[in-house]
Amino acid sequence: MASLVGSRVERKEDKRFLTGKGRYTADINLANQTYAIFVRSPHARASIKKLNIDKALKSSGVVSILTGKEIADDKIGGLIAGWAIRSEDGTEMKCPGNPPLAKDNVNFVGDPVAVVIAESLAEAKEAAEKVEVDYKVLKAVTSTADAMNGDTIHEGIDKNLCFDWLLGDRQKVKEAFDKADKVISIDIINNRLIPNAMEPRACVADYNAASEEITLYTTSQNPHLSRLIMSAFGNVAPEHKLRVVAPDVGGGFGSKINVYNEDIVCSWAAKKINRAIKWVAERSESFLTDIHGRDHVTHAELAVTKDGKFLGFKNETIANLGAYARVFGTVTPTYLFGPCATGVYEIPAAYTNVKAVYTNTAPVDAYRGAGRPEATYTIERLVEKASMELGIDKTELRIKNFPTAFPFKQTLVHTVDSGDYVAGMEKAKQMADYKGFDARRKESEAKGKLRGIGVTSYFEACGIAPSAAVMSLGCGVGLWESAEVRFNPTGQVTVYTGSHSHGQSHQTTFAQIAADELGVPIENIDIVHGDTDKGTFGMGTYGSRSLAVGGIAIVNACKKIVEKGKRVTAKMLEANPEDVEFKDGEFIVSKSNKKKTIGEVAFACYLPGVRDEMKSPLPEGDEPGLKETSFYDPSNFSFPAGTHIAEVEIDPETGHVKLEKYTACDDFGRIINPMVVEGQVHGGLAQGIGQALYENAEYDETGQLMTGSYMDYTMPRADNFPEFNIGYTCTHATTNPLGVKGCGEAGAIAAPPTVMNAVIDALGGQEVTMPATAEKVWKACKNLKKSNAKAA
């Protein structure tokens, strides 16, 4: 049987999506359901003086109106930060309460204060208009850089500072800088982004009074984790009385990791009114209340020798958490950021210091890449600047500082098991025709255009994550993954995974893995996920962990099935289990060459006993049935890496940046389905290029979101991109049996510095901030003209 792992298997999920049979949360309608509309704060910061629902209650069709008071009375808990971070001085981070419905204070535009539940959506909307809230408007804090000087947002949290965290050794860094020939320094803004999964968030909550069970259908990347949080912290219902279903989910990119206010409120309220409640976000609500991403202000320095050896690195960052600290809010700018800050280089001394601040803006949390794009942007902009200042070719300078041997003990935390950064660089240069760039630049110049080339070499730590490691770093849970493999008596297989697909193709790639492990045709394998009632607990999908953690759990469960199969075969064929081999779906006794198919063995496992020909196939001590579970806890993170090269052409008359070429050469370890990996790379690149050239979330000083619709927030469109040129090098991960590393975030991590390095190269080294819009670039072009004129 040909191996499926490694081949372009078409996706099993596609037919339903292509024929309109997908079942997303907003497509679900339950009998007798009601509709919820949330009343939200129009102010960024205010105290609630009075909230009057009398008029609204009289509005037609209203079933119930609930506010922060009822939720507090019922002791429903608030939203939480999933990681406890300690400051450099040893103190614990400071987190404000974040009730699902605000009672006393609102802290960002969109913070919900009440929910109106009515018989129809139109009636809910109309009644929501009639809820009267009397706010005392307070001065908002909106700037990341100045947040520590603003008014105190949350009582008792001085300087709006959640934590002041350090990773690394300041003294060693100082010594390294003292020895340096040159110090390159840079000030960077990592622009704030809005994830914008195309499916707006939604939930449908239902209560079964007979079983006293709440069922929540929700747009989540991790239904089990959501249930845990809603139960343990939200106090909504005990876990066995709460079922969370994340059916087809239309993209997540991190924004659907969090349990949101609406999930908790609708679940709680459904029980209260004993009816189903449906809520679907309008896109403008998504803009205001989905978690946002990035938003760092950084000063970084690199100490170098004159021949380009890196000696030391420092990174001082202010990270905006928004109004509240959410699930991955505090780990994103710390352990997902700091350890990767030194990039793919051997740097003897380094530190990263992060001050995480609260502002009156939407909560900031993990968005595709989470911390690693910010880290990579800083070091790769800095290295590019160093190459300009030292006059050393940008690729040579990088190679000079690459590790030469693996495992590579990276400066701050990670031990990178495998990789070959030089090979990746060489291949990328070849793919991009790096040598031919000068000629292309001259051609552009002849047309009156500016041309630039930018390079990024990155690595990232994903496949999160070893529980022992993350829990010692403050994570509130272990980040293992589970799988259950069930053989039906008649030979088909159902695989339950705790990870979740919202575009990642689990139904196909996971089935490929199981098909190879078990020798069962892929058509006979179903992957089930997304429902806490189906399968064991699992941690969900983020941090490029589905395959590197969830996939391995499937492999391990399959291996257990095969082990049992060998014992059963031995009993059936009167052989020693040690003499039974398994290959391509058959158990073969090596001495006699007698065999049983895995289907026969499965059938036998379900029909133990003696009758006619049938002898009990079950060896002593083995129970009937054929079903195995695995909880896989990885021994290390996985470390994809690569080199990307971009070329841009700028029209100095208009400032328009045209991305001419984009080359990505990545090392994802072993590839299960090249077609799917390609798709993941393309999508990541589009988001990364979007950050560099188009996207930006902006608040004004009063805390109003200025980019709250697709008219103001520039989403990348089909005509914004060239055809991507992608390729791979492949060093297998040594820390998991499949040798896989993870590919979901690479594009979003590598693309922003790659594109910006190219833009800044074209602009003769002038810094521009992301996104490099025509206006900013046009101004820089004018400056360039002026300084060129002066020089001449």
Binding site: L18, R283, H682
Partner: protein, 168 residues
């Protein structure tokens, strides 16, 4: 008086009317308030949930359907406006259980990931090929400018449209 009439129709939707359409080859007739968007009519009144709603400013294209053969963002039209028309949604693209060449091409070339933009994307692309049998890459990208996809980076969508063009 004139103003209150519009308030009634557009804001409150108090005036009910009969909407008659031919949807995916089937005649349908339903009562709906006059402010019902075509997208809402399809999803809520006919339970054709393949047509998706991705925005509230008519900019994402997730809701594209064909009305009398031409692609239209169904969130930009009132159901009453298209009364009497023939509407095709993503559910109506198969013939005798066989996927349309565009659907086949999207599957073959991985033109979709989460599937949310997909119905609108496919319906737009089918209309493009009705109007331009052999579009260039640039023409495809320009045509699809009104459809946002957050997952695929568009490249495989462009390839799928080209592939479908060879089959139609």
């Amino acid at each position: 008086m004139f103003k209150s009439y519009w308030v009634k129709i557009l804001i409150k939707g108090e005036i009910m009317g009969k909407i008659s359409l031919e949807v995916n080859g089937r005649k349908v007739e339903k009562e709906a308030s006059d402010n019902t968007l075509l997208s809402t009519f399809l999803r809520e009144h006919l339970q054709l949930t393949g047509t998706h709603i991705g925005c509230d400013t008519s900019q994402c294209g997730a809701c594209v359907v064909h009305v009398d053969g031409n692609s239209l963002k169904s969130c930009t039209a009132l159901a009453a406006d298209v009364n009497g028309s023939k509407v095709t949604t993503i559910e109506g693209l198969e013939t005798n259980g066989k996927m349309h060449p565009m659907q086949e091409a999207f599957k073959k070339l991985h033109g979709l990931q989460c599937g949310f933009c997909t119905p609108g994307m496919v319906m737009s692309a089918v209309d493009l090929l009705q109007k331009n049998k052999k579009p260039s890459d640039t023409e495809i990208r320009d045509w699809l400018e009104g459809n946002i996809c957050r997952c695929t980076g568009y490249q495989n969508i462009v390839s799928a449209v080209k592939e479908a063009a060879t089959k139609m």
